[in-house]
Amino acid sequence: MTESLIHARGLTKIYGDFVAVDGIDFDVAKGESFGFLGPNGAGKSTTMRIIGATSVRTSGTLTILGKDPEVNGPQIRAHLGVVPQQDNLDMELTVSENIYIYGRYFGLSSKFINKKIPDLLEFAQLEEKKDVKVQALSGGMKRRLTIARSLVSEPDILMLDEPTTGLDPQARHILWDRLFRLKEQGVTLLITTHYMDEAEQLCDRLIVMDKGKIMAENSPAQLIKDYSTKEVLELRFGSDRNSEMVDVLKPLAARIEELPDRILLYAEDGEALLEQIAAKGIHPNTSLVRRSSLEDVFLRLTGRSLVE
């Protein structure tokens, strides 16, 4: 049995009369890549802040590396690398200086940090920018620098809150590649995201959250298996006809979901279903067969889309 790095039972956070996190249980094992998937406002970031020992829980038990964040905040934070949703780099300082001062906050010696900076710059692909002020960097570069900075203390757990939100596709892929490398090195990753593809790519295991509660917990593949069919057929009839077609199509599919712009039909074999529909003389404007994704799992669990 691998040791549990993070252990939460009945974890709750209440702001005034708003319940942000509503009694959740989970464990994260060493070396695991663990994800929190859910829409904005699901309670993911709040959970991350509590784990990061920067927000105090209202109730429940929580241990991180065997310690209670309420009692041992600084001791726990010494072992965490945190990549917040919003970059908080020092804009006036250069790329290297940002890594340097951050290392100093962990009590690291100048010698140790200066030896580490070239590796981190290489990891973040920022060698040529090392003496440039952060202000001048692109969004993707700042993100990579924030990750590099969080690694200066060689953390046991790296926490990433919406790591690729706001990045263009190319920058996202570069970032994913860097995170894969860390995973290969055995760093425990904790990731929140509202992008299903990101969760599928990066997480060994994840919990699906909505309104502060855990809706499901498993590996991405198993979640899809448990909560969806193998394939999905997406049909568009035009917005005025979608609703009336739902009733006609309902008997044909294992499950049907109506979205504002399209109808989703769940089936083991999407092509076969499409042929069946065509044989009945029904012709949608467009059709698409795809594999089920975590988006479908979320829709099934909550009746809502992840990105609205």
């Binding site: 908080n88 300082l93 906050y105």
Partner: protein, 268 residues
């Protein structure tokens, strides 16, 4: 162990101050230029210009029996300390909480909110020492400092700088919307303080209701101490005790309030 937690809990605030100094280094040219040009302008215009008028009319009797520049110098020095230290806490605190959110990065490390606040304070005092020493040298070169104990104006000025910095950091930590903040601080705190703190003439020459500004102003308390220390201006032991206590109380109050404000914003 690679990260030395014991060092952080002991020296955390120093690391924050170190980061502040690195930040200031980017503005070193401007900071130094200001430190030299400000006293030069004041001394030429007010010290020498107005001073010749004062000396010609009332004579040294107007300001307690000394040359006008000698009277003015400790107050100008304290005012420079206040200006530098306030700037160096208000801007970093606004940047830390709002503009760059750097404090939220710091609080993800072993640092505590209290250390972050104390570190910003210490950083501002480092700059203030530099500014005040340069200011003092300029005063000296203008011949505004003649006594053997003239250097004692420096600690008195720093005392005022520390009082304003500690209150400034609490105030800036409390502000979430800075739209009018800088205007208010500038027009309704800094300028009146500069004008009504017995800077240019003894406080006792003003109507009593205006003297009130002096009593609550760190500038007046530090200027009085500075005059006492530099040229033997008469202060009773009680007055000395009051000036020191008021400044110390301001520092204590400011820092305590800033600790609480930083903890509320960073650790809840």
């Amino acid at each position: 162990m690679r990260n030395n937690l014991r060092n952080v809990s002991k020296y955390g605030a120093f690391h924050v101050a170190e980061a502040r100094v690195r930040n200031m280094a980017k503005w070193a040219g401007i900071i130094l230029f200001e430190a030299v040009i400000n006293p030069t302008l004041y001394l030429v215009s007010i010290g020498i210009g107005v001073g010749s008028l004062v000396n010609a009319n009332q004579g040294s009797a107007g300001v307690g029996g000394v040359d006008y520049l000698t009277f003015l110098a400790p107050a100008l020095l304290a005012s420079a300390a206040i200006q530098g230290s306030t700037d160096e806490v208000i801007f970093p605190t606004m940047a830390g909480f709002k503009w760059y959110k750097t404090f939220f990065g710091m609080r993800s490390t072993p640092l505590t909110a209290r250390q972050i606040s104390l570190g910003v304070f210490m950083g501002s005092m480092i700059r203030t020492v530099v500014s005040v020493v340069i200011y003092w040298i300029v005063l000296y070169l203008f011949g505004a400092l003649e006594s053997d104990t003239a250097w004692l104006a420096i600690p008195a000025a720093l005392f005022a700088g520390a009082a304003m910095a500690s209150i400034g950091i609490a105030l800036a930590g409390k502000i979430e919307n800075e739209d009018f903040f800088f205007t208010i601080v500038g027009r309704f705190i800094m300028i009146p303080m500069f004008l009504f703190s017995g800077t240019f003439y003894p406080l006792s020459k003003m109507p009593v209701f205006l003297q009130f500004f002096g009593w609550i102003s760190p500038l007046w308390h530090a200027a009085e101490l500075g005059r006492f220390l530099t040229y033997g201006y008469h202060l009773s032991p009680l007055a000395i005790a009051i000036h020191i206590s008021v400044l110390a109380a301001m520092i204590g109050f400011g820092l305590t309030a800033s600790f609480r404000i930083f903890e509320n914003r960073l650790e809840k």
